[in-house]
C-alpha cells in the first residue's frame, strides 16, 4: 500500500484544492440563495444534506491534497525537503508554545473559548509553517 502510494503521482492537486475550498463554503452560498429558514422549517433533512455532502467532498479533497503534497516533497529536491522539515519544526514548536499559553489564558479568563482551541491552533500552525518556510528559505539563499 505504501509503495503504491509512493508511485502514485496525485494529479490535479491544485484543482482539487480549489474545488475543496469552494465545497467547504458552498453551504453558505446555498443557504443564502434559498434562505436558511425555508430549508430548516420545510425539510430539515435536506438542510443537513446540504451541509454534509459538500463537507464530505471537501474532506476527501483536503486529504488527497495533503497526501499528494507530502509525497511530492518526499520525491522532490532534497533542499526543499530540508526547508520543509525545518519549517515544520518551527511550526510544531510555535504550536506547542501557543497551546500552553492559550490553555492558561482560556481556562482563567475565557473558558468558553476552550471549545475552539484546536481551530486556533490549526491557524497558528499553518501561519507558523508559512513564515517558517520564508525564514528558512532566506537562510539557504
Amino acid at each position: 500500500m505504501k509503495a503504491q502510494l509512493k508511485k502514485f503521482s496525485f494529479p490535479y492537486k491544485t484543482g482539487v484544492l480549489i474545488f475543496s475550498a469552494v465545497m467547504i463554503f458552498s453551504p453558505l452560498v446555498i443557504f443564502t440563495i434559498i434562505g436558511i429558514d425555508n430549508i430548516t422549517e420545510i425539510n430539515p433533512i435536506v438542510g443537513r444534506l446540504i451541509l454534509l455532502i459538500p463537507a464530505l467532498f471537501a474532506a476527501i479533497g483536503f486529504i488527497y491534497c495533503t497526501l499528494g503534497y507530502h509525497f511530492q516533497i518526499l520525491r522532490g529536491d532534497e533542499l526543499k525537503l530540508r526547508i520543509h522539515l525545518e519549517a515544520l519544526n518551527i511550526a510544531f514548536t510555535t504550536s506547542l508554545v501557543f497551546l500552553f499559553a492559550l490553555i492558561f489564558v482560556f481556562i482563567n479568563f475565557f473558558p468558553t473559548q476552550l471549545n475552539y482551541l484546536l481551530i486556533y491552533l490549526a491557524g497558528i500552525g499553518i501561519i507558523a509553517y508559512e513564515l517558517g518556510v520564508i525564514f528558512v528559505n532566506r537562510k539557504y539563499k
Partner: protein, 65 residues
C-alpha cells in the same frame, strides 16, 4: 563543510542549472552547496563526485582549524 564545486563546475563549463539536471536536484540546491550554506546528503555527494569523476573527499572536506 568546504567544497571546490564551483571550481570543478567552471573547469567543465557547466552552469548551475546543467549540474542540477545531471544530479537531479534544483539549481537552488547547487547554489546553496557552492555557497557552503547547505551540506549535501551522501547520495547527492556521491552523484556529484561521479559527474566530476573524483572521490567525494576530493570535492567536499572539513574546514581546517
Amino acid at each position: 563543510m568546504k567544497n571546490i564545486l564551483h571550481i570543478l563546475r567552471a573547469e567543465k563549463r557547466y552552469s548551475q542549472d546543467d549540474l542540477a539536471k545531471l544530479v537531479d536536484v534544483s539549481r537552488q540546491t547547487i547554489n546553496a552547496i557552492e555557497r557552503e550554506k547547505y551540506d549535501p546528503s551522501l547520495p547527492l555527494a556521491l552523484k556529484i563526485a561521479k559527474v566530476f569523476q573524483k572521490k567525494v573527499e576530493e570535492i567536499f572536506f572539513l574546514e581546517e582549524k
